[in-house]
Structures are given as C-alpha cells and as structure tokens.
Symmetry: C2
C-alpha cells in the first residue's frame, strides 16, 4: 500500500515536471531504503557531470535523452563552447611569447577540435553503451566536422604564434584518416601530433596523456594551455599554466 | 554608419532573445576590433564560471541578474546542490573507516553549509561589488540558514562515523557568532573548526586552506573528502581522496 502511494506520487511528480526537467534516477538506494523521491533532474545531472562531481558514468541516463538532445541541437552547447574558447583566447593573447617556438597549446582531438555528434545522434545521444566497433566505423570515415568555436581559437592561437600540439588517444592505425579529417575541415597545420602507440595500451587515457605532456616539458616546451572536453585531458602532472574544459554531455573518459 | 548598423543588429538580437538568454558581454575587445556580436549567453557564463573556465570574476554581469535570480529562486540551484551532496554520500558510504577517528570530511562554511543567499538577495544577486562592511553586518547577525542538501550530507556522514572538519576563511572575531549560527541551524557537532587567524592575513583563501589541510595530514588525519562552493576550496596540495564542488553563481574567491 505504501509502495502504491509512492508510485502515485512519482507519477504525479513526473507529469507535473516539464519536458526537459525529468527526474533522474528513480532508483532504490543500494541499502534498499525508500529513497525513490530523492531523484535529481537532468539539469542537475548535467551540472554534476560537467563539474566532475559525478565521475566514471557509463551512459547518459535514458530519462535524459531528450534533455541532452536539446542541449546539443539548440544553441546551448555551442554557446557554452564559445564561452570556453573565448576565455582561452582572452587568456592566450596576454602571454608574451618567447619566439623560440617552445610555447605550446595542447588540443585534445575528439569532441575538442572535431565533433562526433553525428555519430551520437544515431546512437541515442550517449544513452547507448559504447560500441568500439561501431564507433571505429564512424571514425574511419574521416567525416567528423570541425567544432566551430574551437577552430576559431585554433586560428587565433596560430596567429598569435603558439605552436599547436594535438594529443589524442586515437591509435597508430588511425593516424592517416584522422590527419586527413583534420586537414579537410580546416586544421591544416600543427607542430606535433601525439597518438596512443601500442606500448601505451595498458594506460588510461589520462595516464597516457600525462606521459606525453611530461615528454613535452622534458624536451623544453612550455605548456601554456590545454583544452579538452574530458577532465582526464586536464588533470595530473605537467598540466601547464592553465586548462580549459569544453562541455561534453555525451560520454565520460 | 557601420556602428549604427551594428547597434541595430545588437538591439534586434537582444529583442529576439528570451528573457533568460541575454547575451553577455556586449563589449569591444581590448584590441578595438568589432567583435561586439561574439557575446555569450548568461547560461554560458554560468557554465564557464561553474567549470572554472572563467576565473577571478568580480561580479555577476548586470545583464545576468535576472538569470541568476531565477537560478536561485526556482528549484534549480537546490537540484544542483542535491546532485553534488548525494554523490558525496554515494562515495562516502563505500569507504571502510578505520575506527581510529582519523577519517575526516572537510566542509567549507559560507555557501557550503550555511547560505548567504538572504544577503545577496538584497544586493543584486552578485551584480554589486563586494562590500566587506555590509557583508560583515549580515554575518554578525548569525542568521544564515542551513543549506538543505548539505545538512543532509552532514548528518549522513556523522552517522557513517566520519569526523567533520569545518574550514572557513572567517576570522577569529567571528568564531562565536559563526558557531552559534551553525548550532542554531542544526550543525551541532564537529571535530575541528579552522578559522583564519591574523597570522594568515597575507595568504589567499586557497593558500590558507591548503596550509590547514597540510596540518591535518601531518597530524595523522586522512582527508577522505572535501566539499566546498569555491574551486579554491578544492585545489592545491593535500586535497585528499576526492573533492566535491557545490554550485555558487554569486561570487568568486
């Protein structure tokens, strides 16, 4: 009987909520207590993931697919990306460069400089579990579009005189198609392109990227900034002078 | 003439924008270029500040007062706070405690455990410049309410057996009123209360808090988690096993 009223209450609150304000997740706590009503909204889920409070999430909650779709398909995602890229430029233009070609800005690749949104559009906006085979098929087409706000930053940094370093977890087999994809959409030049060689297979993305950054520093480069869509692009050692976190509400690495 | 059309365009875009979607900031770049239209929305401003991309901001842009008011006065702020506090609990309940009384959880005070929203309501929701005299008058009333989602976490952590440490930048003269305020609203017990003694006056909030955390670690405590509303509560050395960032769209420290 108690459960029945709880269910009624849940349905009532679900009906009264607006379309993009769905409560997530409606699940029992692992201790079995009746805490179903302590759900959070999809907005709160996006807040808590974007600030790295909720970590290691596997998929977007199915209840939030429409909310996340709306985030990407309206102006919101691009607005947020613009705020970050613009701030990176405001920061970068104040840096006096040494003219020795050692001032670098590191860019992650996937969903930092080129977008996998066309893939995720066909795969439930992050609500489906990651499928490496299907994702590779998409990647190997080499058709990922440039992220419009990041490419503006890229061009401005080149004009300022920064050296661009691409640091990606994509592997050796994908170098050619990735570089072709990058050139096709406007990223025509770079100083270094780090891919994840087979000897790094055992490392997480964050560990591998940290090692590459340390190599850069050892070689005398000054990491002036890093921009990425994942927190693992931006934490650990050798993170340079400043980091910039782009939005990604589709997946967590 | 060119400026006239730019102005027209700006007015047109402002009119077409919805109430809470104001473009900010409509300012010239410092290089004098005509980039007025490269504004971002208040939503993007909140995103970029909450993710620590925009730093050292002095006030909420006046254009965003209504947006920030709405964030606090609807359910949104509390929803976001809930998501963070809940995640902190999900994390904490999995930690096996050593029963030696050395497992601590650090809480910041202002806008982490008690709320200064009543003050900011009377001061333009962060759009007015910080006024230490007026703020102290508010603080010395000792009437800051408990943040409803944080006090739930506080009680749950006590039940789990964590030692609670309050770490605040409030000074020695405010110990009595602050502790009375805390007790009045339900924070009735704690293991340690760190205030900012006069010898730390020269340190930033972040530097001071880092020193106190190092003292804790030197004394044999294990910092299992830290929760705060400012990034400066959560970065630097001795940040423990995990950090939790509460929303604060009103001010930056």
């Amino acid at each position: 009987m108690k459960a029945f009223f709880l269910t009624l209450l849940l349905v009532a609150s679900a009906v009264s909520a607006s379309r993009f304000d769905l409560t997530y997740p409606l699940r029992l706590r692992s201790d079995g207590s009746e805490t179903l009503l302590e759900g959070i909204t999809c907005s709160a889920w996006r807040y808590a993931t974007s600030t790295n409070n909720i970590r290691d999430w596997k998929t977007v909650p199915t209840e939030c697919e429409e909310y996340i779709k709306s985030y990407y398909e309206t102006h919101k995602f691009q607005d947020h990306s613009k705020a970050v890229n613009r701030e990176a430029y405001f920061y970068a233009r104040e840096i006096p460069l040494a003219k020795d070609g050692r001032d670098v800005f590191i860019f992650d690749v996937d969903d930092t400089v080129i977008s996998n949104l066309p893939y995720y559009r066909e795969h439930g906006y992050g609500t489906e579990e990651y499928n490496a085979t299907e994702f590779d098929t998409w990647l190997e087409k080499g058709e990922a579009p440039a992220l419009p706000e990041t490419i503006k930053l890229y061009n401005k940094l080149l004009n300022l005189g920064f050296k661009i370093v691409f640091l990606t977890e994509r592997n050796a087999g994908h170098i050619k198609i990735t570089q072709q994809n990058l050139r096709n959409v406007g990223y025509t030049t770079w100083h270094k392109y780090f891919y994840k060689g087979s000897k790094y297979t055992g490392l997480t993305s964050g560990q591998y990227k940290e090692q590459m950054r340390k190599q850069l520093v050892s070689a005398g480069y000054r990491i002036r900034g890093i921009i990425g869509d994942q927190w693992s692009d931006l934490v650990g050692e050798a993170v340079g002078d400043r980091t910039f976190k782009l939005p990604n509400a589709l997946y967590y690495i």
